[in-house]
Amino acid sequence: MDVATTAKRRGVERYRRWAGYALRYAVLIVVGGIVVFPIYMTVVNSLLSSTTIIAWPPELFPFDPQWGNFKKALDEVPLMRYMLNSLIMAGVIVIGQLVTSALAAYAFAFLRFPGRTFLFILFLSTLMVPWEVSIVPNFQTIQRLGWLDSYQALTVPFLATGLGTFLLRQHFLTIPQELRDAAAIDGYGHIRFLIFVVLPLSRAILAALAVFGFLQAWNQYLWPLLVTNEDNMRTVQIGLAALRGREVDTFNITMAATVISALPILIMLVLFQRQLVRGLTAGALKG
């Protein structure tokens, strides 16, 4: 085999490899483009004017971006108030869930007591009850308590979590018993051991649970729709959904409002991507 053919073959191989790369990237770009296309169009629509938004064929690029649409959306719709409500709701739920599930998981992982298995199964069984099944009695409870249009109504029913307790317990079980013994010798009671040893060792899973819980609370729809009527108690999901009936030539404002209300979660996801993935997959992989 002479040098020329070897070089030629090497050249063909290199060409093949490059073609393979190009093809893979082309597929990725096309598929990625299709997936994010609705998001792209929303951003485009939020920047169109009231005349270009109703153009046919629809505009695919905002050649004359109307940045004022965002200000208009904020003026017309009390989005900031809605987002504040959602933030308070999700924040209280996350903190509450972390406290209640850490306490319960500690008992299931570190304490021996009669009825432990039964109580643990009881906790797990809450995962089998879809929230939608209980909305009528729960609505009546909230009504009787006089909690309609209040933060209590939005948060209190969600302050405990069976899934969170389960995942935390699984993690607590990986903490060696010797640590507990050593802490006991140092005079640590259960509460101090939980706060100063167990929780710091569980930061990763706690963060994952927090991000997951926040996302879930922020995205709630049915329950906030039910227990809030006043405009100043609405969450962002409900406030946004109320824009559905607007005229076609104000779709740009609606889309601007949509973009604004999606921003906090988008920012959160970019910042806490790792925690979110861990939170979402914890249940899947531990089965």
Binding site: L28, P38, V99, R112, L119, P157, N219, R244, S261
Partner: protein
């Protein structure tokens, strides 16, 4: 010797009883201590999960007057009338169709995206971010996006359909197309979640498995069928169970996009519960509760069935 034996025999039960009593006391004590940790969760679960579940069953036995107050006791009659009614069977069918239109396509697309994103290429993380981007859209955000895309006057999807030679349809107001349109919205908005979970599953498959399969001459499809799919089956199993349960609980996108219409074409069970209880002038809590109990039994049965049926076909490490 006989005497000492006798006293020992007399003493033994006494000691045993005392010891047992002491143990029980300790047990109660330990339970009491554990309850300090468990009470916060138990109170919430009791008040907002277990009590309402029983209350829903109970409410099903009673009629509701026009102001939402509990009416006459009718026993199982209400269960019978509601569960055999045309409208309940219809919403059950729609719920089933909705699950069929959303779960298998969602898993297939999620799997396709995960396989694409599992390649070792420079810059792959950008594509992973793109594929998972729909988790950032809430149900209201996603629904409003698609409401615009599907709008017959300005929507780009409508434009594509018209360009493809189809009539200019208002998909969301067309009894034949409303459910597929709502399903497409749902598949899109849950795609990011399916992608993330399936990709994480793919990444737990050890490289050595692929290498040894390659040594034995497997490649391409055979690798996928004999290595990837069996190793991924627990993840796919999980996604299918959770996806179906999600489908059975869907409400927001239907409330925003179609309000259960047109002609009840998108009236899934949860929407029907909501409408009977809160969406009309007269709250029919009893009728809604019967449907809620049916939903509970359905989801429970489905979970048990899927676990039993699929677990046998699933390969666990």
């Amino acid at each position: 010797m006989d005497a000492t034996d006798a006293t020992a025999n007399q003493r033994l039960p006494l000691i045993a009883v005392a010891r047992r009593q002491l143990q029980r006391l300790r047990g109660v004590n330990r339970l009491g201590f554990a309850l300090i940790f468990l009470i916060p969760s138990l109170v919430i679960f009791g008040a907002f999960v277990f009590y309402p579940l029983l209350k829903a069953v109970y409410l099903g036995f009673y009629e509701t007057d026009n102001f939402g107050n509990q009416g006459d006791f009718v026993g199982l009659d209400q269960y019978r009338t509601v569960l055999t009614s045309e409208s309940f069977r219809h919403s059950l069918w729609i719920t089933f169709l909705f699950a069929l239109y959303t779960v298998p396509p969602g898993i297939l697309l999620g799997l396709a995206l995960a396989l694409l994103a599992n390649q070792k290429l420079p810059g792959i993380s950008i594509f992973r971010l793109m594929f998972s981007s729909t988790v950032a859209t809430s149900v209201a955000v996603a629904s409003l996006m698609w409401l615009t895309l599907l709008n017959p006057n300005v929507g780009l999807l409508t434009y594509f359909l018209v360009e493809a030679g189809l009539p200019r349809l208002d998909l969301l107001n067309d009894p034949d197309w409303a459910l597929p349109a709502v399903s497409a919205t749902t598949v899109w908005m849950s795609l990011g979640l399916a992608f993330i979970v399936i990709l994480a599953g793919l990444q737990t498959i050890p490289d050595e498995l692929y290498e040894s399969a390659r040594v034995e001459g497997a490649s391409g499809w055979r690798l996928f069928w004999h290595v990837t799919l069996p190793m991924l089956s627990p993840t796919l199993f999980f996604v299918s169970v959770v996806g179906t349960i999600f489908a059975f609980q869907s409400f927001g996108q239907i409330h925003i996009l179609t309000r259960g219409g047109p002609l009840d074409a998108t009236e899934v069970i949860v929407y029907s519960i909501w409408e009977d209880a809160f969406g009309k002038g007269t709250p029919a809590y009893g009728v809604a509760s019967v449907q809620a109990v049916a939903l509970f039994v359905l989801v429970l049965g489905l979970t048990v069935f899927q676990i039993r049926f699929l677990e046998r076909r699933v390969f666990y490490q």
